[in-house]
């Protein structure tokens, strides 16, 4: 019996020693890991970019997806800091993260809102860029929306409705469209809306063009004056303001062109690796990858804030 026990102990020791050698989690890992928080609409493109980056550099890559505001709160409330955070609304940076959790960020991609649907959707055959809002008003049509308190796509949809009311000169249109989505069809983020649409539970959603294209959904473009996609119409967009009443406070969002923001927050555990990934993503290869996933990347990122790492600034001068 004693011999057996000794053998077992020896076996365990050698096994653990061997595994300690094999696993890089000990000393090497901290230099070659990068953790990225990605907004729901960026989940798939970031995944692809991380995989390519991992193959090229041998870095261990970890990704967490969520609604943009949720991700920001993970940093500020839970103090779980990633190496890179990529959000669907660059405004979240100045609103929630800068200066305490981040000192700089970069605007790196655009997007626009479209009306997405499937072949099964009620009225799919006849919906166009001109009559989309009339289709949504039909009582038998099921329209989904996102929670404006949780995800930018939520308050952006409401902004689109308000801009539409102005654009089509149809007083009360925004309120009617808003009312077309009962509480039961409100979901916390943009991807869940896509899932429900694919499952046939929803007929139409106002969502990002990138998501519609990436998921091979049918969609119609909305007029440029209301789709939050063109920086030239920024002033027009700003005329729509959405007041989101939350439990404890009320926040006002002003319509603005959709710009995606990305950055390395303060206190990132692997800041250098994060910056390296950022350089890759914002470079030509990364932009090509984003484009392949229907993300409209800026030809050159716009950095905001001081203390941007010198390497990054010089790479994109």
């Amino acid at each position: 019996m004693r011999r057996l026990r000794a053998l077992a102990a020896l076996a365990l020791l050698t096994a653990s020693a061997r595994s300690a050698e094999a696993a890089p989690l000990g000393a090497r890992a901290s230099a070659d890991t990068v953790v990225v928080y990605a907004a729901a609409s960026l989940a798939v493109p970031i995944r692809a970019a991380l995989d390519t980056f991992a193959r090229r550099t041998g870095t261990v890559v970890l990704q967490e997806n969520g609604a943009s505001l949720e991700l920001a709160r993970r940093i500020t409330e839970l103090h779980r800091v990633p190496d890179v955070i990529a959000l669907a609304d660059e405004e979240v940076f100045p609103k929630l993260l800068v200066p305490r959790a981040a000192s700089w960020y970069a605007r790196f991609a655009r997007n626009r809102m479209v009306l997405a649907y499937t072949s099964r959707s009620d009225g799919a055959a006849g919906v166009t860029s001109a009559n989309w809002y009339r289709v949504l008003l039909r009582p038998e049509v099921r329209v989904g929306r996102s929670d404006p308190a949780m995800a930018p796509v939520g308050y952006r949809t409401l902004a689109v409705y308000r801009l539409a009311e102005r654009f089509y000169r149809a007083p009360g249109l925004a309120a009617h469209l808003e009312a077309r989505t009962p509480l039961a069809l409100i979901r916390p983020n943009a991807s869940e809306l896509v899932a429900l649409l694919q499952a046939g539970e929803l007929d139409y959603i106002v969502d990002y063009e990138s998501l519609a294209r990436a998921n091979h959904l049918r969609y119609v473009r909305l007029p440029m004056e209301i789709d939050l996609g063109d920086p030239a119409h920024a002033a027009q967009y700003a005329r729509a303001s959405v007041r989101v009443a939350r439990r404890t406070d009320t926040v006002t969002y002003t319509g603005a062109p959709i710009v995606y923001g990305i950055g390395v927050p303060r206190g990132a555990p692997h800041a250098a690796a994060g910056a390296r990934f950022l350089a890759f993503l914002l470079g030509p290869d990364g932009r090509a990858l984003l484009g392949a996933h229907a993300i409209d990347a800026l030809s050159r990122p716009e950095f905001v804030g001081d203390s941007v790492p010198a390497a990054l600034r010089s790479a994109f001068r």
Binding site: L185, P188, E201, R247
Partner: protein
């Protein structure tokens, strides 16, 4: 193998090991709960007075869990009886079918339910004829709770019924009762406490379910979805009182179970 005289030290060491291991596990379980309740318990209870959304979520959770449990008791007890008395020829298949939902990750269960009962499915169309839909509705919540918790009830009910010697029913039958009547007049009261305990377990499990429910029904929010929502939407400080209230309320079924176990029926013969 050499024999050696029994050594008292090894027995003491074994006892110490068992005690230490048990204490460690218990600490692991108790610490998070204690921390939550001590930190935010009072704040949470106070919140109940002013927070209509929280009250609404608690009420919704209680209603749906109770409905799910009632449906399961009615449909599942006869099945548990048949399983306990070995009257099902396909017992192994039925058993596996009952175990599967327990093994599915909860969001996966939710997706499966969405596919099977969503608006686009045949079952969904049938439900729509009755004005029912599973997405964004109480129906969806009850369905998700049923799916993840009913197997627990059936297993536990089966155990409770199996503990009642079938010869009691045999005697009742010779005294004139049909099989059904004998099971109702004799086995049901004797298994009663076990069945009640099984129902409480199911109720508690339903109340705590999140993953399967949230896929089907995000709104209206049950308590578990609300706590997650507060956490992701407003932060830890806003979520903690909700969480603490839920922990305190979880004590209720726990106490009920303890009371049931303590007053178990005695005097039944060994098989």
């Amino acid at each position: 193998m050499t024999t050696h005289a029994p050594v008292r030290v090894s027995h003491r060491a074994a006892t110490a090991g068992v005690v230490a291991g048990s204490l460690l596990l218990l600490l692991l379980l108790a610490l998070p709960i204690a921390t939550l309740v001590l930190r935010s318990g009072l704040a949470g209870l106070g919140q109940l007075g002013v927070d209509a959304e929280l009250r609404g979520a608690l009420w919704l959770t209680a209603q749906t869990a109770t409905l799910a449990t009632l449906i399961t008791v009615v449909l599942g007890t006869p099945l548990a009886y048949l399983l306990a008395r070995d009257k099902l020829p396909a017992a192994p298949i039925v058993g596996a079918l009952l175990d599967l939902p327990l093994l599915l990750p909860h969001p996966v269960a939710g997706m499966a339910l969405l596919l099977a009962f969503g608006r686009a499915s045949p079952a969904g169309v049938a439900l729509a004829a009755f004005g029912l839909a599973v997405v964004g509705s109480r129906t969806g919540i009850v369905l998700a709770m049923l799916f993840v918790a009913a197997p627990l009830y059936v297993s536990a009910a089966r155990e409770a019924i199996a503990r009642v010697d079938p010869r009691y029913e045999s005697v009742a039958r010779t005294l004139g009762d049909s099989s059904v009547r004998a099971a109702w007049r004799v086995t049901r009261p004797l298994a009663g406490r076990g069945l009640l305990a099984a129902a409480v377990v199911m109720w508690a499990r339903s109340v705590s379910e999140f993953g399967a429910i949230v896929i089907l029904t995000y709104n209206p929010k049950v308590a578990s979805v609300l706590s997650y929502d507060r956490f992701t939407g407003e932060g830890l400080d806003a979520a903690l009182p909700v969480a603490a209230v839920l922990v305190i309320l979880a004590l209720v079924p726990l106490l009920v179970l303890r009371t049931l176990r303590a007053s178990a029926v005695s005097g039944e013969p060994a098989r």
